[in-house]
């Protein structure tokens, strides 16, 4: 979905294919990020306003509170959004707020995160559930370091669809060359983060151009979608392709005669008769029934909240994961992860934390390895405390066996939070990258299905490979880790005897 099919870099870097027009009516979750004054409040206000999500009495309250209106006779949207008195008094937003709007085709949940203070922590929170990120840039300023930081965090949290809103386009005479320069620069950057679904849109949030309504008179040269059209066409992540996963939340025993395992399917699908393993124990059983309130079902897929009945008496407790025999998750004591530190105390090396993933809570100690330098995108060695807002690579050591997929493979079974045992506060959000095995930390192969090849390539070459159709079609079978040349060399040296 690119407005500039004829631009020069198209021949070098393949652009995202247009998103398929799936009428997926599940709500699309998105996050909006921008630097202060890029116009994010104006944009969200405009979205709510033009999709009629602002009710008349709310608008009246708004008009009364703001007293003033902007030069188009619209209320000051920032007041509509800044819900909390304390913030309003200080004139800043400090937390994630959720907004709701809908079109005829789809409904949307917006995680609205502030662009300045604590943005890493807030963005990580908002991005954790988002399928798409809208990144704002002021057309006059172009891409800022802040924009790159936001994009980096969004990609790290697993978002694979970006919309770049080149805002305040009314202030640059709707100059096409400016749009192409900014959008090309952004595309290249996003591709370097592994994001291939990129839509850039020139817009004026203030005037409502290319937000909900097209602006063909102001920008006749722009043939791409409006923001809302782009959002309607975006895809909602689905984990139905991988192996079956059911983190057990509860064992239901309403009477002696019934025992069911309740949870939300976190990946794959299941039907009666399928064989399953209960992890970490590894016990095997067959599915006898899938019970829901809406009668007994003959199948369940990722996302469904179900009750599973097995064909034999086995030991299953809250926190266990019921999985398909094919494509099982990783079970072990040591894992690699990336995490975002969320609280003033930071994450301390060697301290015992509670880790919660799915319905499983267990003790873990953390060993920081490196920290992401957001200004450059480089990982720097870092073994001490990960301060609040730091993004780090860490090693996790469990006292009891843990069960994970990589976050890349499954966002539900690859994610976790850390809880400080003293304050009981949530202090980090994390994503599993690998199980620590014998190969210098390289991910174990998922099943014994033939050979794997480890390549170490320059990033730009890997980028082109990853952008190919063949690669995309077999993405599920590949594992990618970004390393410094030095780290890659080490892995090859350490693993030499096994290869």
């Amino acid at each position: 979905m690119t407005a500039t099919a004829n631009n020069a870099s198209a021949t070098i870097l393949p652009f995202a294919e247009p998103a398929k027009a799936v009428r997926d009516t599940r709500p699309l979750r998105l996050i909006t990020c921008g630097s202060v004054d890029d116009g994010k409040s104006t944009l969200i206000g405009r979205l709510l306003w033009d999709t009629k999500a602002v009710k008349e009495d709310q608008a009246a309250t708004l008009a009364r509170d703001s007293g003033s209106q902007n030069d188009l006779g619209l209320p000051d949207f920032a007041l509509l959004l800044d819900g909390l008195q304390a913030e309003r008094e200080q004139g800043i937003t400090i937390d994630v707020a959720y907004r709701y709007f809908a079109t005829d085709r789809r409904s949307f949940i917006v995680a609205d995160t502030p662009g300045h203070v604590q943005y890493t922590r807030n963005m990580a929170t908002g991005a954790s559930t988002a399928d798409l990120a809208v990144l704002l840039a002021d057309a006059r300023a172009g891409l800022l370091e802040q924009t790159r930081r936001h994009a980096t965090i969004a990609a790290l949290m697993g978002i694979r669809q970006f919309v770049l809103a080149v805002n305040k386009f009314d202030l640059v005479n709707y100059d096409r060359a400016i749009f192409e320069r900014i959008s090309n620069e952004f595309r290249e950057f996003a591709l370097s983060l592994g994001v291939r679904q990129i839509t850039a849109i020139p817009m004026s949030a203030l005037k409502g151009e290319n937000v909900v309504y097209a602006a063909s008179s102001a920008m006749p040269w722009y043939e791409g979608p409006t923001l809302v059209e782009a959002l309607e066409l975006a895809t909602v992540r689905s984990t139905q392709a991988g192996g079956f996963r059911l983190p057990v939340q509860r064992v239901s025993r309403p009477g002696e005669s019934f025992r069911g395992y309740q949870g939300t399917v976190a990946g794959g699908s299941i039907k009666p008769g399928d064989s399953v393993a209960i992890l970490p124990a590894g016990t095997i059983a067959n599915v006898k029934q899938i019970v829901t309130f809406d009668l007994v079902r003959n199948a369940a897929v990722a996302g469904d909240a179900i009750t599973l009945v097995l064909d034999r008496q086995v030991d299953v407790a809250r926190g266990d994961v019921i999985v398909s025999l094919d494509g099982q998750p990783m079970v072990g004591h040591e894992f690699d992860a990336q995490l975002v530190s969320l609280q003033p105390g930071g994450i301390e090396p060697g301290k015992r934390y509670w880790l919660k993933s799915g319905a499983r809570r267990q003790r873990v100690t953390i060993e920081p390895v490196s920290q992401l330098e957001l200004s450059t995108g480089n990982w720097q060695p870092h073994a001490s405390v990960l301060d609040m807002n730091a993004i780090g690579k860490v090693r996790l050591s469990f006292e009891e066996q843990a069960v994970f997929d990589t976050y890349e493979q499954n966002r539900a079974t690859g994610a976790f939070i850390l809880i400080d045992p003293d304050t009981l506060n949530t202090v980090a959000g994390g994503m599993i990258t690998a199980k620590r095995g014998d190969l210098g930390g390289i991910h174990q192969t998922r099943s014994a299905d033939g050979q794997r090849v480890l390549l170490s390539l320059p990033a730009d070459l890997a980028e082109q490979l990853m952008a190919s159709e063949l690669f995309a079609s077999r993405r599920d079978e590949t594992e990618i880790r970004r390393l410094t040349a030095k780290q890659a060399a080490e892995i090859f040296t350490n693993a030499a005897s096994d290869i």
Binding site: D57, Y98, A305, V309, R312, G429
Partner: protein, 317 residues
């Protein structure tokens, strides 16, 4: 030897319905997930049941979440004694029909002191008979988690509310000190005396609620549907004139008209709207063109726009 579900005794077995659309299904799945997580992690949960449409949806979801078992926690209704009569009748009928543990609490001190919406004004009355009463009931029950039907789209101060909303031992809500909430991994660890309010309907909008009620055929208090009813106009609100405790002020007369309610609470504080929507389809049709948000019918929200946040900080649900 575990038996299948057909062989177990279940009250009110479910009926077959067409599948939900993917949007409502996603919201339902999320809510069920939250119900199960809270029920598993907390020692003594309770569900706040206000008898309104959101509570009705919440209860339906709870029944789904724990099926084929019973709802494994009690329902708490804070009865100010000024609720619509039809609400109380509906409450008792539902509790009986679905085999629920119902706890009803009234602030007896407030009642003894004669606190009424007419004599004490809406703010003070709400504070004593609702906020205070709720705290009393939660303390008395020793509940460490309370489910509520609040939605983030209801009011600006709720847009930042977490799904697990953390409360201090004196039930205070500190908007600046809420735990970050990532993915659907909820932190249910609390210290003694602390509690959470859990909001399974956080991501639902008013339209979702109505469409779900329709799709799942959820019974509601009839006051949500238009009918010819007696009312009095007071302070720009239409107040139902059925209860003998409503005394007419000079110049007021009882009128009759086709009215319904978009929200239900204490009858003297809940305004009706003129409507002819006498069934669900008509209510939804009316809603889709409506431009006035539902809370407008509630007197307590109208003082100033920060008022809900203030109430929440003090412990109002």
């Amino acid at each position: 030897m575990p038996l299948s579900v057909q062989e177990t005794e279940v009250k009110n077995p479910p009926v077959s319905r067409p599948p939900l659309d993917p949007h409502l299904k996603a919201l339902e799945n999320e809510a069920i997930h939250i119900f199960r997580e809270v029920a598993a992690e907390f020692e003594k949960p309770v569900m706040l049941y206000s008898i309104g449409k959101d509570s009705s949806v919440l209860l339906h979801l709870a029944r789904k979440a724990f099926y084929p078992g019973r709802v494994p926690f009690p329902l708490l209704h804070v009865d100010t004694t000024w609720k619509f009569k039809e609400m109380i009748a509906f409450r008792d009928e539902i509790a009986q029909k679905y085999d629920l543990d119902l706890v009803v609490h009234t602030n007896q001190r407030g009642k003894a002191e004669g606190v009424t919406p007419f004599t004490h004004g809406s703010a003070l009355y709400t504070d004593i008979m609702k906020t205070e009463a709720l705290k009393q009931a939660l303390d008395a029950g020793g509940y460490d988690a309370a489910f509520g039907g609040a939605r983030r789209d209801e009011e600006a101060s709720r847009a930042k509310e977490r799904i697990y909303s953390f409360r201090t031992p004196d039930h205070k809500w500190d908007p600046r000190n809420q735990r970050p909430e990532l993915w659907n991994v909820y932190n249910g660890m609390i210290k003694k005396g602390e509690s959470v309010r859990a909001f399974p309907l956080s991501n639902w909008t008013e339209v979702d609620i109505w469409r779900y009620i329709q799709a799942e055929d959820i019974p509601l208090v009839p006051l949500y549907y238009a009918a010819e009813r007696p009312y009095v106009e007071r302070d720009g609100m239409m107040i139902l004139a059925e209860d003998p405790r409503l005394q007419l002020l000079p110049g007021e007369t009882v009128q009759r008209g086709s009215i319904r309610f978009r929200t239900l609470g204490c009858f003297p504080l809940t305004g009706a709207i003129r409507s002819t929507a006498s069934n669900l389809e008509e209510v939804i049709a009316e809603l889709e063109i409506a431009t006035v948000s539902e809370r407008q019918g509630r007197a307590i929200d109208r003082d100033q726009s920060g008022s809900m946040e203030k109430k929440k900080r003090e412990g109002y649900f």
